[in-house]
């Protein structure tokens, strides 16, 4: 591994592990900081307002104590850990948060966040569930106008068409680099570990996109120039919400897995849809939602997610599909049989792993991952 690649990965690792420092630094420079909760947040609006957008997707291995006051025990651990951190004051330095209500548990956050973190202004983003209709665009433009107005009030800065256009282009450039990155790892499996791939993608949440894109261009250039390693392990395509706690990635690396593609809500689904052209910048953002096909959190009467996963896994050259099921995510629970059937019809071995962000140990999952590896490599 060249020094430069190590340095890039180290910088991204630093971003992922020093979020508080980054937020304080942005504040010290006079910037507003806006948290962006799952799942599909139009971050470009935050960027265009001059604020620093920071991802909020809970925390790994955080014991849930006080959040239990707000949810039944069967609420997903991502939302519970967001609330636990809110109660602990972890978000107190933020100026605002954008909260979507794309699933039933996130809808609860729209109610719990103002109670648990009263000093931070919540701005709700209400996506059109029936996103394919033309009326959905009209509806979402109106919603986005409201989000824009609230951001303008919060930041004291007008979000002009020009500024928003520029932000969209910056984000699209980042998305293109990320799509190229994912393809490179599919073409040259084993170039990065599962943990490194995850860090590169996760760093997007905690760096300005211009900064992340610059690093991605350098990294992609190095990956393009690298010779494909003679990888003899298992190439998996990962589906689900997120693949954390990240010590699962270490277990995967140890067992000889590499990730050749994913459609995780936390990872590729954040960047694999470019914002299209349209008459206005808000219409562009509204029309981006229309481009989603088989998205778990949007209405999909044909249930195409399974076919899409199987097709993408084949295209990425995967040996198998891994479904990372976030415990109590009913949205993914409903999709699991569709994805499993489509994978099996495509002759792709399938493993579903039930995860919780709060899991302290990956050992029970190790048995499943090891047995799956033994099954796939015919060593046993």
């Amino acid at each position: 591994m060249s020094v430069s690649k190590v340095e890039i990965l180290r910088e991204m690792e630093y971003a992922v592990t020093h979020i508080r420092e980054r937020v304080l630094d942005e504040k010290a420079r006079g910037h507003k900081v806006i948290g962006c909760l799952p799942i599909l947040i139009p971050e470009e609006l935050v960027h265009a307002s001059g604020a620093f957008p920071v991802g909020i997707w809970g925390a790994e291995r955080l014991p849930i104590v006080r959040a239990a006051e707000y949810y039944p025990p069967y609420a997903c651990s991502v939302v519970q850990s967001i609330t636990e951190l809110a109660i602990a004051g972890a978000y107190d330095g933020l100026d605002g948060v954008l909260i979507s209500c794309l699933c039933d548990t996130l809808k609860c956050v729209t109610q719990s966040f103002p109670l648990t973190c009263p000093s931070v202004k919540p701005i709700f983003v209400k996506h059109p569930q029936n996103h394919r209709l033309e009326g959905a665009v009209t509806y979402f433009i109106r919603e986005l106008e409201g989000v824009r107005a609230q951001l303008e009030t919060l930041t004291g800065r007008q979000i002009t068409e020009e500024a928003l256009c520029q932000s969209i282009e910056i984000y699209n450039e980042n998305r293109k680099e990320m799509i190229a990155f994912a393809r490179l790892l599919a073409e040259k499996p084993g170039l990065l570990t599962c943990r490194e791939r995850h860090t590169v993608i996760k760093a997007r949440y905690f760096m300005r996109k211009e900064e992340h894109t610059r690093l991605m261009r350098e990294l992609n250039g190095m990956l393009r120039a690298s010779t494909a390693p003679s990888f003899e392990g298992i190439k998996v395509y990962v589906s689900g919400v997120m693949l954390e706690p990240s010590h699962i990635l270490d277990v995967m690396d140890e067992l000889g897995y590499t990730i050749v593609g994913d459609e995780l809500a936390h990872e590729s689904r954040q960047f694999n849809h470019l914002v299209p052209e349209a008459l206005s910048q808000l219409e562009r953002l509204a029309r981006q939602v229309q481009t989603y096909e088989g998205e778990a959190f949007l209405y999909d009467p044909r249930k195409t997610r399974g076919e899409r996963v199987a097709r993408a896994a084949k295209e990425a050259g995967a040996d198998a599909v891994l479904f990372a099921l976030m415990k109590f995510c009913d949205t993914d629970e409903y999709d699991l049989p569709w994805v499993r059937c489509a994978a099996q019809e495509a002759d792709l071995p399938f493993l579903h792993l039930e995860l919780e962000q709060t899991m302290q140990s990956a050992e029970p999952l190790r048995t499943r991952l090891q047995a799956f590896a033994e099954q796939l490599t015919h060593t046993c």
């Binding site: 039930e354 029970p364 090891q370 033994e374 099954q375 015919h378 046993c380």
Partner: protein, 259 residues
């Protein structure tokens, strides 16, 4: 003295050891009633060799499996218990295509092909319902030994329904029924039925291919076997040493020496 191959299955509640000859003959077994995190692995080895004509110096290769497989220092390699159960069961009952393993805190359903290779598997998640632990908890509440449950079940004239969603809730149900004076034998049958329903649900999620075999300590419980046959609507194959299926599988991997 004879060259031999050791398989050691370090589970959550017990450690099982099996030794095979180079001709795949079972030379001996040992079980100690402690699992991973204790000295059970060393104790199992010491007990085995103390009671055997075999010498540790003639052990060609050792494979570890079970929860404690990664921390056992005496192994040449480690293999998941899923692969080991498939291997061991196929050795004893080659006609089986679906394996249900009821362990101390694990429940596994495994589909294998005609060569004994794993095709797919499912496991329980963070829930003791459907496992040996569930039966241990219930027998303690009733003041019985787990080994007695089969006899009580055989005397049942009916089945007292117990929920299968949570061990703790089920325990309070059992206590309530005991307070209400229900027949113990019928209560035991209800407990077995609760476990069997949990196992059946998990196995159906994977799909059932005939024939179906039951392994693990749960296979020693005749009441559970009956309840499972009732719920699965099929007869079950039982290996002669169900508790040692994983250990024998590990010993077979040791013998084949591919790992």
């Amino acid at each position: 003295m004879e060259a031999h191959y050791i398989g050691i299955d370090i589970g959550s509640t017990a450690t099982k050891l099996a030794a095979l000859s180079g001709e795949r003959a079972l030379l001996g077994t040992t079980v100690v009633p402690f699992g991973t995190g204790t000295q059970a692995d060393q104790l199992a080895l010491e007990t085995f060799y103390r009671n055997s004509r075999l010498s540790p110096s003639d052990c060609v290769r050792t494979i570890a499996t079970g929860y404690g497989r990664l921390i056992f220092r005496g192994a040449d390699a480690q293999v998941s218990e899923i692969s080991c159960h498939a291997k061991g069961l196929h050795h004893f009952l080659p006609q089986a295509r679906t394996i249900i393993d009821v362990g101390g805190q694990d429940l596994k359903a495994i589909q294998i092909n005609d060569r004994g290779s794993v095709q797919q598997f499912v496991m329980n998640d963070k829930c003791a319902a459907g496992t040996g632990r569930f039966l241990e908890v219930m027998s303690r509440v009733m003041g019985l030994e787990v080994a007695e449950l089969g006899e009580y079940d055989a005397r049942a004239t009916g089945v007292e329904t117990i929920s299968n969603t949570c061990t703790v809730f089920a325990e309070s149900e059992v206590i309530s029924k005991l307070s209400a004076g229900v027949d113990i034998a019928n209560l035991v049958a209800g407990i077995h039925d609760s476990v069997a329903r949990k196992i059946t649900g998990l196995t159906l999620r994977m799909g059932i291919l005939p024939e179906v075999a039951l392994t693990g300590g749960g296979a020693l419980n005749t009441g559970l076997v009956r309840a499972l046959e009732r719920n699965l609507k099929c007869g079950l194959l039982l290996p002669s040493l169900p508790q040692f299926t994983g250990a024998v599988g590990a010993a077979l991997f040791a013998l084949e020496g591919r790992l």
